[in-house]
Symmetry: C2
Subunit: 506 residues, 2 copies
Amino acid sequence: MTAASPHAYFPVSARIGADLKAQIAQGVYPPGAALPSTRALAAELGVSRTTVTAAYDQLVAEGYLETRPGARTRVAAGLQPAPAPVAGGRATAHHLSAYGRRLLAEPLMPEPLMPEPLLPGSLLPEPVMTEPAPGPAIDFRYGDLSGNDFPVLAWRRALTAVLLRRPARLGYADPRGLPELRAALQAYLWRARGLRCGLDQIVVVNGSQQGIDLCARLLVDPGDRVVMEDPGYGAARRAFAAAGAAILPVPVDAEGLQTGRLAAVGPARLAYVTPSHQFPLGGVLPVARRQALLAWAEACGATIVEDDYDGEYRFDARPVEALMSLDRTGRVIYAGTVSKTLSPQLRLGYLVVPPALSDVVTEAKRLADRQAPGLEQAALAGLLTGGGYERHLRQARRRHADRRAALLAALAESFGGTVRVEGAAAGLHLVAWFDHRPAAAETGMAAAARAAGIGVYPVGPLYHDPAARPDRAGLLLGFAGSEPGTIREGIRRLAVALAGERRAGI
Amino acid sequence: MTAASPHAYFPVSARIGADLKAQIAQGVYPPGAALPSTRALAAELGVSRTTVTAAYDQLVAEGYLETRPGARTRVAAGLQPAPAPVAGGRATAHHLSAYGRRLLAEPLMPEPLMPEPLLPGSLLPEPVMTEPAPGPAIDFRYGDLSGNDFPVLAWRRALTAVLLRRPARLGYADPRGLPELRAALQAYLWRARGLRCGLDQIVVVNGSQQGIDLCARLLVDPGDRVVMEDPGYGAARRAFAAAGAAILPVPVDAEGLQTGRLAAVGPARLAYVTPSHQFPLGGVLPVARRQALLAWAEACGATIVEDDYDGEYRFDARPVEALMSLDRTGRVIYAGTVSKTLSPQLRLGYLVVPPALSDVVTEAKRLADRQAPGLEQAALAGLLTGGGYERHLRQARRRHADRRAALLAALAESFGGTVRVEGAAAGLHLVAWFDHRPAAAETGMAAAARAAGIGVYPVGPLYHDPAARPDRAGLLLGFAGSEPGTIREGIRRLAVALAGERRAGI
């Protein structure tokens, strides 16, 4: 009962119990041995007898002690000396599943997709952990949104409205998601993405990543062939690779997936595509290629996963309708998300699945985590049906258009003809190609930028087949996370950093 | 452009675009054909030329039309007649993975675990979908919590505090969860569950179901042997079975898993246990059995998944410490949740994994859905560090103790010696055994109760090996969802219903 006991802030009876356990573990009281009477121990410790009795009762409840009416309390006969309670203190090899081994065998995700800390660690009075290294001062990381854009008041109002409804009971609900939300999404998808579907086809998921992962689990066995855009989205590639897929990279050009190459690739189980705004190169897949892709899928029995990760943002025209809206044969699974419209931190997305897959996706979602969080689902439904979502979206479109314009102007001003921009017609990022510099220069360029406090991200790691990529340097620039002034300043500093890096002769 | 067009609430240019698409699909304008000039079409439709130009521009952007300077706008040469946009309209067979096929082959979950609608569908002004059948008037469904208990104000305050911090950027964060929350959980687990662990061992998940599913994916290959309690938790059994596990049912008694039977079962890859309060029979695993289980796991190299789903509730003593606190060799994965302390709708839980598994679990969580929702994580961290969580827990314990007392008293009053209660020392449910009635009577009893508006749930479906179960009827009674008066009334009505059902000679 020393002051340094880790149990120092436990009630006295708990401290007595902890010390008794330690003494039992050390063999002071071997199995079957009688303990001091409660009266004796209370006197020894200078505490009330009630306190000691409580400690004994607790250890009886836990099985350390045994008691019989009229007899002394004893250490349980079958007990082994217990180890000190430090969980997982010794390294032990665990047998991993094939899935787990594939997960560790794959290289980590490329940097643009690596997580960094988001919410400032301001809740705790003192630092209790090592803080991760701070990010660059001006960051063009793709996938980030500016915190300024989040509709704090509308979201808070929506959450409060849901909280105050106070349901009579809290239990598990439909794994596909809240009926109100699915109905709201059904209407939204029709008017905004040209997608007509039944309620039973909609499954609310935790962001599009869960949707992709469910598709990989349900549709891909080890060795199955999966078509992916090259370059393409790393987190999807990793999900399919972890499922054991044989990845078939198909090159993209300025119009997205080169569907003319599908015949040469041959049949596949699945194709993962980003037709609204190819990730990362930004092409918008024309309707003729969409038809070719659907025809290929039907011919070989493939399922198409359409990741519509930022299809809401189109700057020169209305957003192109979803690929799924052209699908008459039930080959396409559509994955949508609010990660680019509200916040990636909300972790809300949705799958629209062909009717034939509705049951199995529902069961997989149930076993994966039962359902998406109820409060947030109801809040999003409120925002959608009340019109707040599209009001916010219109505002976000304007802000992102300003950011995009600032980025394009700054690139032209600082780099002139030495930079060629690709993929800026839609979405929240673009690729800046430095045609006069080799692909190998990318890493040095990003490092020089980083040293100057600017986060830019090489395109290289997003290529599946490094040999197939053009020998020129490309940087991925997301513009949704910063304001126009910061963007302009960031590009100015980037130009200075890259000029210096070049003079250094790398 | 009929009034019945599904695009009736689109802007006029969008309606023109939709009609043009339909005409292209019907072959009115075949691939390569010239369209009317914008001037001509504008005159024909009685709209401005700008409107028609906008429609043409949009279809050019989508790839339906092609345009060259000085030439008439034409239908894209490579275009096929497009189908009408009804997603997934024809049933198509999809090739499912082995996982998907196992998922569909397994029987659906037994009724106590089946989801029912939770939040009333009050967001939408009109009913837009078929409402599911209403639940029983008084429901003893296990897993539900009373909506009265949820700390609405504290949770709202915590959420608001987080929302108003308004981070500069919104992006993806650590897949293991918010550092503040993991630090808060680390401290909580130490003081409340006797569990000391490093921050890197904690991974925040979407409720314990996701934790269990991650364990199944990472540790179980098809054919691997997995020990499960019998009877046991259906959703866990389904997750392991879907991973392809060969389930080894080990019987439980009043003290939980019969560890003495493990030697006969032989080695296994994994054991899933509920030592704090065996689900469903309610036994608290004594420390000697805990030691035996750990020794068995070490001897055969098995990993133990400890599902501490309601370990916070112990009515006759302090909660028993977690099994993992006895684990010195890193064999135990601990799964905790707020589903029984705050709400199953929040979908927040946590794994504590041995250091050797930290990396692979982190990667699996990242690919599964990147991370748990940020707002809710931060709100829970605030509740934990501010003391609100444990204040709420103390209150919840008192309320549940009252409900439990009401249920025990009502059972004694209505059934006397004809009912034997098991597993009431801990947790939020108990089992009422009708020793004088055969197991086969359970279904009829539950149906008779249901007809009287009372939801009770047979124990039978929770047995893996129906032959091994005792031939007596048992009903699972959860008491966390209703208030004491309702519980008493429910048991009175249950007694009447069961007496009537018995007289009917079933």
